[in-house]
């Protein structure tokens, strides 16, 4: 009623305010059409000097760095001109990640663990980016960068031990599956709290600069988590101290069920966040392994020469659910993945290698089989150490270790309590034999 709106607007002729609540273009059952996304042309963009002032390269925060074209050839100034062996390694790493994801997802469905997260469709953003860094550059990942660990040669069996929380798990069964840590591989312990790794990466980079070291830091975060205050803090500290750090934003369009509009994508790009801080910003085709590598290499060179931090938005698509606990058919169109205009990163790199005469379908099939076999072998080995909930976990007392460097009296008392409970529950087992029920 007109009378109501007059009351709502205070009886004046001022217009009633309206709240905008973002809504994704497509919901389940809708026909997805991404023709509104301007992806530009592969090879169209110039490659600015790595010492460029951020303000002089602001266009790169709004366009899309692409190398691999529709013709499967590498184009333009961003082509990193990698040799065929490196490209095959890159392809192999991505294929191994995908094979690993497939089997671990299945393992969760079979009850071998509680949880898993695939990175299907986003493999390039961790594998190719990770390969552009030095092996001792410190990475602060989010939860979907298993590609870095795999391309750094972390043993699959260690990953599976962690996923199964079994007695071989180096993290002693304390962390949710996939929350890896490997100091040896310069891979920071993953947190379940989002975006906390960003200021930490900046702090590590500041420390490296304080010490006159040569190593840089790189961190990964989803586009949804850029809404956290930690992201703002990280950008501020990174630019204030010109820290040698790369902030990678993986814009995979979806944060569980919330589309990127809830992190601000209706208004601007995520790469453009950099500009307000006076930071270099790049927006990159995240499904183009060569573009991903080239951008990370650009930022690494910049950081290593005291040129300062870079924020890179990798524009990609989360092809599957957020995790094993998620079913995306409940909130987005199943067509989206097929219609995604930037394709699949593994297919694109494979097609490129074939197009330049360095690969063929037979070798691809053999590689895929080899990846599946390696994962299967590692899985069998890891299962000897147990699966979640089947007894082969770490001894009870380890629950109380490492809370502090030394065990304080109150934790000693609580450890005794746990041991007592164990003896009451399972009186036939020797209390000190380690693996309990």
């Amino acid at each position: 009623m007109a009378g109501d709106s007059e009351v709502a607007s205070g009886g004046s002729n001022k217009p009633a305010l309206a709240l905008h609540v973002p809504e994704p273009k497509y919901r389940p059952g809708d026909t997805a059409d991404f023709s509104h996304i301007d992806i530009g042309e592969a090879g169209a963009l110039s490659r600015p000097d790595e010492a460029s002032a951020p303000a002089d390269m602001s266009d790169f925060a709004y366009s899309l760095v692409r190398v691999l074209g529709e013709d499967n050839q590498a184009h333009g100034a961003w082509d990193p001109k990698l040799d065929a062996d490196t490209l095959r390694t890159m392809l192999g790493n991505m294929a191994l990640v995908r094979a690993f994801d497939e089997r671990m997802f299945r393992g969760q469905r079979q009850g071998k663990t509680s949880f898993y997260m695939k990175c299907t469709g986003e493999e390039a953003t961790s594998v190719a980016a990770g390969m552009a860094l030095a092996s001792d550059d410190m990475v602060f990942p989010s939860y979907r960068q298993q590609g870095i660990l795999i391309s750094r040669g972390y043993p699959l069996i260690e990953m599976i031990n962690q996923i199964y929380s079994n007695k071989g798990d180096k993290l002693k069964g304390r962390q949710l599956p996939i929350m890896y840590s490997s100091r040896e591989h310069s891979f920071f312990t993953i947190s379940g709290n989002l975006a906390t790794q960003l200021p930490q990466a900046v702090g590590w980079a500041m420390a490296s600069a304080i010490k006159g070291d040569t190593r840089i830091a790189a961190t990964w975060v989803g586009e949804g988590s850029t809404a956290e205050g930690d992201f703002h803090s990280a950008c501020t500290f990174a630019t204030v101290y010109n820290a040698p750090v790369i902030l990678n934003v993986i814009n995979n369009q979806w944060a569980i069920s919330s589309f990127s509009g809830f992190a601000g994508s209706e208004r601007t790009t995520f790469a453009a966040r950099a500009l307000g801080y006076g930071m270099a910003g790049l927006r990159v085709d995240g499904n183009d392994a060569l573009a991903v590598f080239a951008a990370q290499q650009w930022a690494a060179n910049r950081a290593r020469s005291n040129g300062g931090p870079t924020l890179i938005e990798y524009f990609t698509y989360r092809a599957e659910g957020h995790s094993t606990s998620d079913d995306p058919s409940g909130y987005r169109s199943a067509q989206e993945q097929d219609e995604w205009p930037l394709g699949d990163p593994i297919t694109r790199l494979k097609d490129h290698l074939i197009a330049i005469g360095e690969w063929d379908e037979d070798r691809q099939a053999a590689m895929d089989k080899d990846c599946a076999d390696r994962v299967k072998t590692a899985t069998k080995e890891a299962e000897k150490n147990g699966i979640l909930g089947h007894g082969l976990h770490h001894p009870f007392r380890t629950m109380f270790e490492d809370v502090f460097e030394e065990l304080p009296w109150h934790l000693k008392e609580q450890a005794d309590q746990a041991t007592r409970e164990r003896e009451i529950k399972w009186p036939d087992e020797h209390p000190k034999d380690g693996a309990g029920k």
Partner: protein, 354 residues
């Protein structure tokens, strides 16, 4: 001895055992020594660099140790703690300052979910050996955003240590121990007693530290182990558990009332010196807990539970808590809020009458 003076620093430790410092200078001295001894120590925070801190705790440190060891930060507690976690992972030993304890909340996620959990979740691959210094407590007309005592929140977090000094001598030794500790330490500095001990009789002139025996702060390095309480006074009639400013207030009230109190300055809340507490309560049979923080779920609740669980058959009266009220810290009614001599005196009378 005649009136001790603050004198020029002698060359070696121990030569001038009578050097007197206030708490600010003792804290400054501790950081100075650790910056000198350990190249991995860095000091940072809002206004701590060139200016030397709003309470002057870092005065002169940047000039002496350089801009990459002692520096200002953006106004971002989340960022300060977050970068300190990363620095710790690198191998540094950061000593971030949070300008007021009341400002620490934006940094809580980085403290609670990150710093406190790194050692555990990475099975010792990464640690967060940081000491977060922060002035806390009221009594300076700071209003509700410059007076809070949030220590209980941190004691509730597994993986954090919480340290609160009550004298200049302790402030230096405890801060050095905290900086050397490989676990994250929350180091709350009772700002009401930065410049002198406080009896709680706010209408009386402020006593400077130089008249107090515990303002004797030796030159050079020394440490006081975390987790050890300090016996402020030996007595038979009543155990008093306190920390920070309230140690001095409780001491003054007991003296005024002529109570033969056994007063423990806890110094560290986590890890807690439970042995000292048990020994004292078993001796006196009566226990008073005093803190400035709000009452409900305050650390006094934990202390009361521990004493009751562990010393019940030695108790001759119920354990009493004297605390701040469960309101925000009011500006104009500060001294009505503060758990001063009247509130403490009433509680003592109640315990002693049982």
């Amino acid at each position: 001895m005649s009136e001790p003076q603050v004198t020029q620093a002698p060359e070696a430790a121990g030569e001038n055992a009578e050097r007197r410092l206030n708490m600010i200078d003792a804290i400054n001295d501790a950081m100075d020594i650790m910056l000198e001894r350990d190249p991995d120590v860095i000091v940072m925070g809002e206004d701590v660099g060139y200016f030397g801190g709003v309470f002057r705790a870092t005065a002169g440190l940047q000039e002496k140790h350089g801009k990459t060891r002692v520096f200002d930060t953006p106004i971002s507690e989340c960022g300060i703690i977050g970068v300190a976690v990363g620095m710790g992972a690198y191998g540094l030993r950061p000593v971030p300052e949070i300008q007021f304890a009341d400002y620490i909340y934006p940094g809580l996620d980085q403290l609670v979910s990150e710093a406190a959990r790194l050692r555990y979740r990475s099975a010792t691959e990464f640690i967060a050996p940081m000491t977060v210094r922060s002035p806390f407590g009221g009594g300076i007309f700071g209003g509700q955003t410059h007076s809070q005592s949030p220590e209980a929140m941190f004691t509730h977090v597994s993986g954090l240590k919480t340290v609160i000094p009550a004298t200049p001598y302790d402030a230096k030794g405890l801060l050095i121990a905290a900086i050397e500790d490989n676990d994250p330490v929350i180091f709350f500095e009772p700002k009401r007693i930065y410049n002198g001990p406080f009896s709680g009789y706010y209408d009386k002139p402020v006593e400077p530290w130089k008249k107090h025996k515990d303002s004797i702060v030796p030159e050079g390095y020394y440490r006081i182990p975390l987790g050890k309480a300090r016996h402020v006074a030996q007595g038979e009639a009543l155990t008093v558990l306190a920390y920070g400013t309230m140690v001095h207030v409780a001491e003054a009230v007991c003296a005024n009332k002529g109570i033969d109190a056994d007063i423990l300055d806890l110094r560290t809340l986590v890890p807690l010196d439970i042995e000292a507490i048990e020994a004292s309560v078993e001796k006196t049979g009566r226990c008073l807990i005093v803190h400035e923080a709000t009452r409900t779920s305050g650390f006094g609740a934990e202390l009361s539970a521990l004493v009751t669980e562990r010393c019940f058959y030695h108790l001759e009266a119920p354990v009493e808590r004297v605390t701040g009220f469960d309101t925000p810290y009011p500006h104009s009614l500060e001294w009505a809020y503060f758990p001063g001599p009247v509130r403490i005196g009433e509680a003592i009378d109640k315990i002693m009458s049982e």
